[in-house]
C-alpha cells in the first residue's frame, strides 16, 4: 500500500518555491508524482482500447520509503489531498471545468467535475440562466475523430427539487482523451444543443479501504482453509463406503494432500498478488504525465523553451499544437514568491517541441513559467517551469504582450477589489460577499477611465473582453480562464462546430482550426464598435487559501493588467 501511496502525491507538491539557483538555467518543477497528458491525433483509438497501444511511459519519480506508520499517515493525507487537489493537464491543480454558453436560446452555466480515475464518473451540474427549460440530456463523446459523430444514448439530468433551474447528472468517462459533453436542452423555446470540452485522464490510483481489505482478506483465509479441508476430506473419506472408518494410511494421504493443496493455494495467492501488482503498474502507466519544459536564457533576452516528456498514453507529439486565440502558446511569467510582476507573452515555435521568445524588458527575479498549449485533438496542457532572470532591458511590449505589477502578495493581508492602473484607468472587481472553494462564482471586472466612468474605448483582447489567471500563493494552482470558462478556446470551438446539424457541420480537423476566426469564438462574437466595459469569468477555486487574480482587459491599444487578491474559505 505504501507504494501506491507514493504514487499518489498530488499537485500539492507542485512548484516548490523554495529552491533558488544562481544561474539563469531553468529548474523543472515537479508537478506531481503522476505527471501526464494526452494529446495526439491518434488518440481516438486508444480511447477505446486504452491498454492495447499504451506506451512504455512509467512513473520515474522515486520517493523515499516511509515507516509503516508514516506511510499510513501519508496515505491518508495523500488520499485526502487527492480528493481536493488533483493535478491536471490543462491548468494546474484546478481540474474542474467551469463554462458558460448558450444551448440554442438557453443560457447555461455548467460545472463538470472529471473523475480521478478512468474509467470513472464525471459529475455534471447545470444552472439554467434562461427560464423555461423542461429537460436536459447529456452525452459524452469524443471531441475529434469518428467517435465524435456518434453520441451514446444520452442521460437525462435530474432537476433539483428545491430549484427548478438547477440540474444534476453523472456520466461515465470510459477512456482517457479529449472528450466533449453534449447538452441537449428542451424547453418552451424549442431545442438547443451545446457541447463543452472535457479533457479526461487518470490522475492517480486509490488504495483499497482498510476495512474492505481486512474483510476480503478474512474471506480469502476462510476460502483457503475451507478448500484445504475439502481436499483432505476427499482424500481421506471419498472412496470409503458409508460408515467406514478411515484407516491410518488414508489419514496420512489426507495430510499429504492437504499440505499439497495448501501449498498450491498459497502459491495461487502469491501469483494473484503478482498479477494484481502487475495490473496496478500497468494502470500507473496510464496516469497522466504532463509535458515538461526546460527554460533557458540565451543571447541576452532570448528565452528558449524546450518541451520534453514521455509519450504517456498516446503518441504525444510536440508539433501538433493548434492556435488557441491566435497563439500556439500562452506563457504566463510570474515573479516568485512575491507574485508582484506578471507577464502574459506568446513564444513562437522554432522547431518540433521548441519555442522561443525575445523577452521584453523584465525586472530581475525568480519567475515561475506556466505555458498553455492545445494539441490537435483539443487536449490542452499546461507546462510548468521556472527560471532566475537578471534584469533585462530590451524591447518594449508588443502585439498581445501584457505586463502587470503590484505589491507583493505576502504583504497584502486583505482582499483587494480596486486596482489602479499605470495610465490612470482603474479596474474594479465586483467581489461576492464570500468566496468558497469548489463553488461556481461569476468573477466580474469593470474597467473605468480616468474620470471613474465606464471605459468608453474597451477593445477585444485576443478576441475576448478579457483573460484571467487565478494563481494560488503556494503555487499549487494555476488556471488561465476566459469569459466562456476554463476550457481551452480552441477545444471549445471544435466542440461548437459540431453543435450544428450534421449537414452544415464543418470538418473538425486541426487544419481547420488554424483558419478559424477568433472573433467567432464563444464570448468573442460581439460587435466591436461598442463593447461593454465589464467582463465576467465563470470559475471556482479548487481549494481554500490565498489567491492572486491577474485580469487582462484592453482599451484602445492599451492592454491593462489588474491584480487582485482573494481569500478563499
Amino acid at each position: 500500500m505504501s507504494d501506491k501511496c507514493h504514487s499518489e502525491r498530488s499537485a500539492g507538491q507542485n512548484l516548490s518555491s523554495g529552491v533558488h539557483t544562481p544561474s539563469a538555467r531553468s529548474r523543472r518543477t515537479p508537478r506531481s508524482t503522476h505527471e501526464s497528458i494526452s494529446t495526439g491525433s491518434a488518440a481516438e483509438g486508444n480511447r477505446s482500447r486504452s491498454g492495447r497501444e499504451r506506451s512504455q511511459a512509467l512513473n520515474k519519480f522515486s520517493l523515499p520509503r516511509l515507516s509503516p506508520r508514516k506511510s499510513a499517515l501519508s496515505c491518508l493525507l495523500l488520499v485526502a489531498t487527492l480528493l481536493f487537489v488533483p493535478p491536471l493537464h490543462a491548468h494546474v491543480g484546478s481540474p474542474d471545468v467551469y463554462a458558460e454558453g448558450n444551448a440554442g436560446p438557453y443560457k447555461l452555466s455548467v460545472v463538470i467535475r472529471p473523475p480521478l480515475v478512468i474509467p470513472g464518473v464525471a459529475e455534471v451540474d447545470v444552472r439554467v440562466l434562461t427560464p423555461g427549460v423542461r429537460a436536459i440530456n447529456i452525452a459524452p463523446l469524443a471531441l475529434v475523430g469518428e467517435a465524435s459523430k456518434h453520441p451514446p444514448t444520452p442521460d437525462t439530468m435530474k432537476i433539483a427539487t428545491a430549484d427548478p433551474n438547477y440540474f444534476t447528472g453523472q456520466l461515465w468517462i470510459m477512456a482517457p482523451g479529449s472528450w466533449q459533453i453534449r447538452f441537449t436542452v428542451d424547453g418552451g423555446q424549442g431545442r438547443g444543443v451545446w457541447s463543452v470540452p472535457l479533457p479526461a485522464a487518470a490522475q492517480g490510483t486509490r488504495p483499497m479501504q482498510r476495512g474492505l481489505g481486512i474483510f476480503l482478506a478474512l474471506l480469502g483465509i476462510v476460502l483457503i482453509v475451507g478448500m484445504t479441508g475439502i481436499v483432505g476430506a476427499a482424500a481421506r473419506d471419498a472412496q470409503l463406503a458409508p460408515g467406514e472408518i478411515a484407516p491410518p494410511q488414508r489419514r496420512r494421504t489426507a495430510v499429504v494432500s492437504m499440505t499439497v493443496a495448501f501449498a498450491v493455494l498459497v502459491g495461487g495467492v502469491i501469483l494473484g498478488n503478482w498479477w494484481w501488482k502487475s495490473e496496478a503498474a500497468d494502470y500507473k502507466s496510464e496516469i497522466y504525465k504532463p509535458l515538461a519544459m526546460d527554460a533557458t536564457l540565451t543571447r541576452g533576452n532570448l528565452l528558449d523553451l524546450k518541451l520534453t516528456g514521455s509519450p504517456w498514453l498516446f503518441r504525444r507529439r510536440f508539433d501538433d499544437f493548434i492556435p488557441d486565440h491566435n497563439h500556439l502558446m500562452h506563457l504566463y511569467m510570474i515573479r516568485w514568491p512575491a507574485m508582484d510582476v506578471v507577464f502574459h507573452l506568446h513564444p513562437n515555435p522554432i522547431a518540433s517541441g521548441e519555442f522561443q521568445l525575445a523577452l521584453p524588458s523584465i525586472p530581475a527575479g525568480d519567475y515561475h513559467l506556466y505555458a498553455d498549449v492545445v494539441h490537435a485533438s483539443g487536449f490542452p496542457e499546461t507546462m510548468v517551469s521556472s527560471i532566475d532572470l537578471p534584469a533585462i532591458t530590451a524591447r518594449p511590449l508588443a502585439g498581445d504582450d501584457a505586463e502587470g505589477q503590484a505589491n507583493p502578495v505576502a504583504g497584502a493581508s486583505a482582499d483587494t477589489t480596486i486596482f489602479k492602473l499605470p495610465d490612470g484607468y482603474t479596474m474594479v472587481w465586483t467581489k461576492p460577499a464570500t468566496l468558497i472553494a469548489r463553488q461556481p462564482i461569476e468573477f466580474t471586472f469593470t474597467l473605468l477611465d480616468r474620470t471613474g466612468q465606464s471605459a468608453p474605448d474597451t477593445a477585444l483582447y485576443m478576441g475576448m473582453l478579457g483573460h484571467a489567471a487565478f494563481v494560488k500563493d503556494d503555487g499549487t494552482v494555476f488556471a488561465h480562464i476566459h469569459p466562456s470558462g476554463t476550457v481551452a478556446m480552441a477545444a471549445l470551438m471544435m466542440a461548437e462546430a459540431q453543435n450544428a446539424p450534421a449537414s452544415s457541420q464543418p470538418s473538425n480537423s486541426s487544419t481547420d482550426m488554424k483558419n478559424m476566426d477568433m472573433s467567432q469564438m464563444p464570448g468573442g462574437s460581439m460587435p466591436t464598435d461598442h463593447l461593454p466595459s465589464s467582463v465576467s469569468f465563470p470559475y471556482g477555486f479548487p481549494t481554500p487559501g490565498r489567491y492572486r487574480i491577474f485580469v487582462q482587459m484592453k482599451h484602445g491599444a492599451t492592454i491593462e493588467t489588474g491584480i487582485f487578491d482573494a481569500t478563499v474559505s
Partner: protein
C-alpha cells in the same frame, strides 16, 4: 452439425453448447439496442452477437473416436500413452479445422447472419484489426511449430491429469 453429433456419440453437453452458440448468433441481432457509453465508433442499432465459436467440435469428435477405441486402458503406462496421443490429436485437428475456417471468416463471404463476421460492437474503431480484418501478429515457420509443439505438450499433460482425476472420481463412494 447438431444432427451429425449424435451419430458420432458426441456428448450431449457439447451439442447443447454448440447449438447455443449458433442460436445466440441468429437471435441476438433481432433485438434493438443502442450504446449507453462512449466512445461510440460504430453506430449500432441492435445487439451484437459474440464471434463465431471456435470449432472445438472437431477435436471433440476426434477425441471421442479415439477414446471409444482406446479409452478403457488400464495401467499408468497406457494412460500416459493415451495422453501423448490425445494431446497432439486435439491440437492438430483443431488447427486443421480452425485455420482454414478462420481464413474463411476473414472473407466477405462470412459477412452474413450465420457466420456473423460483419458485426462490430460499438467500441471497435474502424481502423482496428477487427474492422480492417487483419490477423493479430500471426506466427510462421519455426515459431509456429514451436508454439504448436508446446500446445501439444500442455494438452497431453492436461489429458493425463484429466484421466487421473477421472479414475479417482470413478472410485468415489461418498
Amino acid at each position: 452439425m447438431e444432427g451429425l453429433a449424435p451419430s458420432l456419440g458426441l456428448h450431449p453437453h457439447l451439442r447443447l453448447l454448440h447449438a447455443g452458440h449458433h442460436r445466440l448468433h441468429l437471435i441476438l441481432p433481432l433485438f434493438p439496442a443502442s450504446p449507453k457509453l462512449g466512445p461510440v465508433f460504430q453506430p449500432v442499432t441492435q445487439f451484437i452477437p459474440p464471434k463465431f465459436p471456435i470449432l472445438l467440435i472437431v477435436p471433440a469428435i476426434a477425441l471421442d473416436l479415439l477414446w471409444r477405441r482406446y479409452g478403457q486402458v488400464e495401467g499408468q503406462a497406457n494412460k500416459i500413452l493415451l495422453s501423448l496421443a490425445s494431446g497432439p490429436l486435439f491440437v492438430l485437428t483443431l488447427v486443421a479445422a480452425e485455420w482454414p475456417f478462420a481464413s474463411f471468416l476473414m472473407t466477405n463471404a462470412a459477412k452474413n447472419r450465420f457466420f456473423g463476421a460483419g458485426y462490430l460492437d460499438y467500441g471497435t474503431p474502424s481502423w482496428s484489426l477487427d474492422a480492417t480484418r487483419h490477423f493479430v501478429q500471426p506466427q510462421h515457420g519455426l515459431d509456429l511449430w514451436i508454439g504448436l509443439a508446446e500446445a501439444m505438450l500442455y494438452a497431453a499433460i492436461s489429458v493425463w491429469l484429466g484421466l487421473l482425476l477421472g479414475d479417482w472420481m470413478r472410485k468415489v463412494k461418498r
